[in-house]
């Protein structure tokens, strides 16, 4: 709910940003690793406030927007960059090196988006067996042969490679979360290290739909029928990740009558989304004969893919910590 109130104060926030006139503009770097670029677009999605913010910062690296040279970043003094927004999972050697360089050069490093925070969609490669497909070393183009970076053994979130100061989860994070980070940086009121720029409660705590109880016999996919917009989606047989997911997105999916996908990651106190979600599913499923229970479970489209859609790389079973190269 905090975020909603925050959103209504847009105009005040813009004013606050305008009033700040730091002696030196903070240097900001935005880097994209194994991601889709949606997080960068979410920053641009701030609209007019984007201009307010960019007036007050000095962008030193943003490959999506303009041509920057990585060699220039490497030549910088340590801790030159005030804030680095890193989005995307670490999938190959190049991205891993860049993450380590950016850690050296930045004072604050923030993982933006589900991929950087938890491994995200690319992390789902872990559902496939390893070593089945050979990765290509180079690709032939009209201009010549392009060498491809060496892929890592496993896909890891940013925190598996370097120390991360703040997390902004979401796929993509809402513009207001990114704005919150910038405003707190510009006002010099940053929260303690390790903070997450979202609520600590679960999405269900903020949901206003009515609960019905233990009644689910068959699970559906969202397109299979029209769902009541007043009743809990889980009770109607949709795999909504609300009970285990962090709130703070303003319940965008649920208010559009679509189940939560769990992109903000596990709420505070939840270690593994899959484990916690199985407890929830067991409590809403209809009991009875063993064969009915088995049938109900088999009607779930893809349990592993649903519960670990964004967090497979940081789940109990698949979590691995990479040894540093240095």
């Amino acid at each position: 709910m905090k975020l909603k109130a925050f959103r209504e104060d847009w105009s005040q926030v813009a004013e606050a940003v305008r009033k700040i006139s730091p002696g030196r503009k903070p240097k900001v770097a935005l880097y994209m690793a194994g991601g889709c670029g949606g997080c960068d677009l979410s920053f641009i999605g701030l609209g007019e406030r984007f201009l307010d913010i960019t007036e007050n910062i000095d962008v030193v690296l943003w490959p999506l927007i303009a041509d920057f040279r990585y060699s220039r970043v490497k030549r910088m003094y340590d801790k030159t960059i005030d804030l680095c927004l890193f989005n995307g999972a670490v999938m190959n050697r190049g991205q891993m090196d860049m993450a380590q360089i950016l850690r050296k050069k930045s004072k604050i490093i923030t993982a933006v988006g589900s991929c950087a925070c938890m491994g995200g969609i690319p992390g789902m490669l872990g559902l496939q067996g390893k070593g089945k497909e050979k990765s290509r070393k180079r690709v032939k183009l009209a201009e010549g042969i392009l060498p491809l970076p060496e892929p890592c053994d496993f896909i890891s979130p940013l925190s598996g490679v370097i120390d991360v100061d703040y997390l902004i989860p979401g796929c993509p994070p809402t513009p207001s979360m990114i704005l919150k980070l910038f405003v707190s940086m510009l006002e010099n009121k940053l929260p303690p290290k390790g903070s997450v720029f979202a609520s600590g409660r679960t999405l269900c705590d903020e949901c206003e739909r009515a609960r019905k109880g233990k009644s689910v016999k068959v699970f559906h996919r969202p397109y299979e029928k029209v769902f009541d917009d007043k009743v809990c989606l889980l009770d109607q047989g949709l795999l909504c990740m609300g009970p285990v997911t962090r709130a703070g997105c303003g319940s965008q999916c649920v208010s559009a009558n679509m189940p939560c996908r769990g992109c903000l990651g596990p709420a505070e106190g939840i270690l593994d989304m899959g484990g916690a979600y199985i407890s929830t599913l067991a409590s809403i499923m209809c009991g009875g004969e063993k064969t009915t229970i088995r049938k109900t479970v088999e009607s779930i489209p893809s349990l592993g893919g649903t519960v670990y859609r964004f967090s497979l790389s940081s789940s109990i079973l698949k979590k691995q910590r990479r040894a540093s190269r240095n």
Binding site: G129, G131, G275, K290, I293, V297, G304, Y308, S315, L317
Partner: protein, 129 residues
């Protein structure tokens, strides 16, 4: 070559475990009602190196917390499904209802599970199909 000895973890409540069996023969026992089992514990045991997991529960209607009767089976089926989605054999997880007095049955279950796990081999995340 040394023979492979699988590591089995048993999740069971006190009333299911036979009293007169030497517990040193059984691999590892985690006590607690399976109806209230937190799946997180089971997943972390697998990650820590268990090759198989045995969930034991009182027969229907005999559980001490009558309200929760039958919850264990739902958790078991869901966990089996989750493991198979993660490319881990379903047979590594087994659920049985057992009465207090059946100490023979308990040892038999452990033996069956051990031979099954021996045929499956050690749990390796990359190779499991």
């Amino acid at each position: 070559m040394e023979e492979y000895e699988p590591k089995i973890i048993v999740f069971a409540c006190k009333s299911c475990l036979p009293k007169n069996v030497g517990l040193e023969e059984i691999p590892l026992v985690r006590e607690g009602c399976v109806n209230h089992l937190n799946p997180k514990l089971l997943l972390s045991e697998l990650k820590k190196g268990a090759d198989g997991i045995l969930m034991l529960c009182s027969p229907p209607g005999e559980c001490h917390s009558a309200e929760e009767d039958g919850e264990a089976f739902k958790r078991f089926v869901l966990l089996q499904r989750l493991l198979s989605d993660l490319r881990i054999s379903r047979e590594r997880l087994r659920f049985e209802c057992l009465k207090e007095s059946e100490s023979f049955g308990f040892m038999k279950l452990v033996k069956e599970m051990t031979s099954k796990l021996k045929s499956l081999g050690p749990l390796r995340w990359e190779n499991e199909a």
